[in-house]
């Protein structure tokens, strides 16, 4: 079970309290009705499936109920950071304190 830090509660809480909500930073157009087929396809259907760093949305369902964003490594499942909804995609990631250490 993962431990996830809720940026609103400012606490690490067990995964049971959260629900994943798909990829983050996919903005809904302000002119939705005017979107081209291609743009709508990108918006609605196309998702990245990276091996490594993914930006995704989570909801602290059984806590504060807020949606927030997280940066997670899909290889190790480790959370690099979490931040509030609406905040920009981080341009630089913090050095992961938990990164794989050679013995």
């Amino acid at each position: 079970m993962l431990l996830i830090r809720c940026p609103y509660c400012e606490e690490e809480r067990p995964e049971l309290e959260f629900r994943n909500a798909g990829e983050a930073h996919i903005a809904r157009s302000a002119n939705m009705a005017g979107e081209s087929d291609d743009d709508f396809e990108k918006f609605f259907f196309i998702r990245s499936n990276p091996k490594g760093i993914i930006y995704e949305r989570w909801r602290h369902m059984h806590g504060c109920a807020r949606f927030f964003n997280a940066v997670r490594d899909t290889v190790t499942d480790k959370f690099v950071m979490t931040y509030k909804a609406g905040e920009p995609k981080p341009s630089k990631l913090p050095k992961n304190s938990n990164e794989v250490v050679a013995k």
Partner: protein
Amino acid sequence: MSGAFRIPAAGRLKQAKTARFSFDGQSYAGVEGDTLASALLANGVHLVGRSFKYHRPRGVLSAGAEEPNALVQIVRDDARKTPNVRATVQELYDGLAANSQNRWPSLSFDVSAVNDLASPLFSAGFYYKTFMWPKAAWKSLYEPKIREAAGLGISPDRPDPDHYSSRYAHCDVLVLGGGAAGIAAALAAAETGVSVILADEQAKFGGSLRFESGAMIDGQDGFAWAQAAVAKLAAMGNVRVLSRTTAFGYYAQNFVGLVERVSDHLKAPGHDLPRERLWQVRAKRVMLASGAIERHMVFANNDRPGIMLAGAARTYLNQYGVAVGRNVGVYTANDSAYAAAIDLKKAGVNVAAIVDLRDNPTGPVIDEARALGIEINFGRAVIRAGGKLRVSSMTVQPKNGGGERTIPVDAILMSAGWTPSVHLFSQSRGKVAFNDETKRFVPGTYAQDCVSVGACNGTDGLSATLDEAYAAGAKAAKDAGAKDASTKTGKGAKPKVDASESWSRGMLGAAPGAGPDTTVKAFVDFQNDVTAKDIRQAVHEGMRSIEHVKRFTTNGMATDQGKTSNMHGLAIAAETLGKPIPEVGLTTFRAPYTPVTFGAIVSHARGPLFDPTRKTAIHPWAEAQGAVFEDVGQWKRAWYFPKAGEDMHKAVDRECVAVRNKAGLFDASTLGKIEVVGPDAAKFMELLYTNPWEKLEPGRCRYGIMLREDGFIYDDGVVGRLAPDRFHVTTTTGGAPRVMNHMEDYLQTEFPHLNVWLTSITEQWAVIAVQGPKSRDIIAPLVEGIDMSDEALPHMSVREGKICGVPTRLFRMSFTGERGFEVNVPADYGQAVWEALWAEGQKHGATAYGTESMHVLRAEKGYIIVGQDTDGTVTPNDAGLDWAVGKKKADFVGIRGLMRPDLVAKGRKQLVGLKTKDPKVVLEEGAQIVEDPKQPIPMKMIGHVTSSYWSENCGRSIALALVTGGRDRMGDTLYVPMPNGVIEVEVTGMVFFDETGGRLNG
């Protein structure tokens, strides 16, 4: 005397406390503190089971969790018959009853042992090759027969009467393994004051100190030191000590699952004790001190009862006071087996000979063995064992060939070396590294905050182990946040080793005599009956990856997960492939380390606690009326209210007719309800629903449709506007949570500028639907402050007032097509108001109706149910609900999806009505529809039936269906092919009753 093979001066058990037990009906005496295995061996019983495939006689191999052979069924009573219990782990209690498995008619005479003679038929990949066809025979013939012939024990056939418990725990340092390394690590960590959990799978801590007679720590015997150290730890407030507790899984972020066996060792556990307790521990630092597992030698007939691991024989002697034979042979490739021979010799057991594969090893144990007069043969191999139900001899040959010599023995102690237990390390996603010099995999690159110490880290020797573990324990505590030395709670000092044993090295793979040119049965994996030859054959048949070799031969796939066999199997595969071992790779270790009961995982979440049951405020009334309930999500809903002698159809017919002729009361409380409040509430509703809301007058209602962004119907429901800034939204019963989530998602992330609050009010309001021509007459006398006239309260309106003196939100709405109301009252008043309405209803001939009648009545009117008549690929247009989509709106969720080419294309499936040509025939829901029933199979299916009922009000069957281009087929005849013949249907509109809708005001 508890067994002829008990040596009174040896072992640590108090011989006075005897315990009676039975094995296959035969009664024996053991001693308290015995395992079932040690008690059997004390009585000279080595034959304890039959093997999985060949039904070969098998004996006890080990003295621990790695045991592949000694699997028994423990029978406490009719319901408690636990199969596949390892006799080496099961502690003895007075009255224990065990049975051997996988034999018929008896353990010593097993008919299926003919499989052993026919073994050329059962080689590697046998199942894949043999039972190929006919396909149908798999289910009816092959699989049941294979399961019957193989199998491991018999599953209990009654519900488990035991209860299980579950705990969460957090600690700074979690130490897994309570041998010398684990204890030293725990001492060092605990002394800093951080919280520590120390767990070990055995009843007694000490690990290999149980058998290492030469170990002296802090001036005392190693095992005694371990007991004293653990007692000291247990007395510390910051330490939790868990014995009989196996760490079975190491998950992300230092989350470890452990199972504590609480009462399996007790004679009469009593119901206040759980059988097992699941611990889910989150630790800042994990210390792995899981030790090493001894490997057997791979030679012909190495599975005969009486042949066991040298360390196990030593444990039986030094811990349990049991000699595993009177005249034992030793076969080894490393030093540790010498220690076993020395201990047994000193205890008075004859050691016939030590056979050592190595050419000219030297060292103190070899000297000591020689000084004791034990015959030692270097550079020789045991090429086969004699005997069947018990080993009777070992045949020795120089390893490069030459004359054979057969030595009579009644036991063979073997050791090919020790395999570090990297299971948990590997589960933590750490990468192992192969040490070519010592021929073993040890922890390499770590993936989590953990550290390995002692034998599981490849550290040899007690002194080095304690040094490493103590230092690592202190470091782990510091890393976990221990304060500096001044806050130390303990006054500990590093344990000092006064005497120790040390051994390393050994060999991997098949021993001489079981090499590539042989076909002997030299077992690699005892539990799955995999021989060295099978592994070579797998390579010859094209398996290159060790993962494929494993699956083809099933090596390491039994319940012991290859704890003794994986390295041998790997070495043989590597040799056959002509590749170095690291290139062939190690198979992945996965949880669980040892089998875990379903009970421990499920814990209390069974029966009524499996899933919450939601009941409405009116539930007790319906129950008292004899309602039959159905499950709708977690809700219990009244399905129908049968009167004496009525079946479901009769009850539903009566209920439906009564609603249309008089009135009916229906508990609609489970309907999802969400209050949307705030200055921007109308704007928010505009975005979340297809309909226009800005112009809806307060006091009026509207049927709303919610789409997903892709344009498909997600939910629907009637929405009442109570005030300019307040909407009372209803959702489907099952959809309430996801609709709430959907709304919150958009409000928080896409439309955060809107000033709106969302509140789930499903459980706050009980909802009583009163439907039918007499509905107003029933409600009106109880209502205060609301004008009930059609002018003041027309269809699709809502008022706040009082009913029976309590607040109500009174909706004039209808899901039946009759004049109807939905009375919302605070849930606490739900049943009282229902009873008052019911009493009033009795004056007007009203009936209570359930969900089945509700379904029929709405279908008569063509009202859809989202999730039944729609399936996530249906647009409002497909469902005939285009009128509910605001054409002038600039935006709403789904607006762009609705424009997708496929969604506006011709020939989509559309919802229509179906009337069977024979009105008495009721279609099956889900039945497929075709244009031409004479076409060849597979026919072209153009749609399916979504709803179908007998309508007593229409005097015929009615149905709704999704049909390709359905609205262009009005009046057409279509066909529904069924197993008993083809049913002819006519395509109609969706409204079967009161097409003009006059009855809404009737």
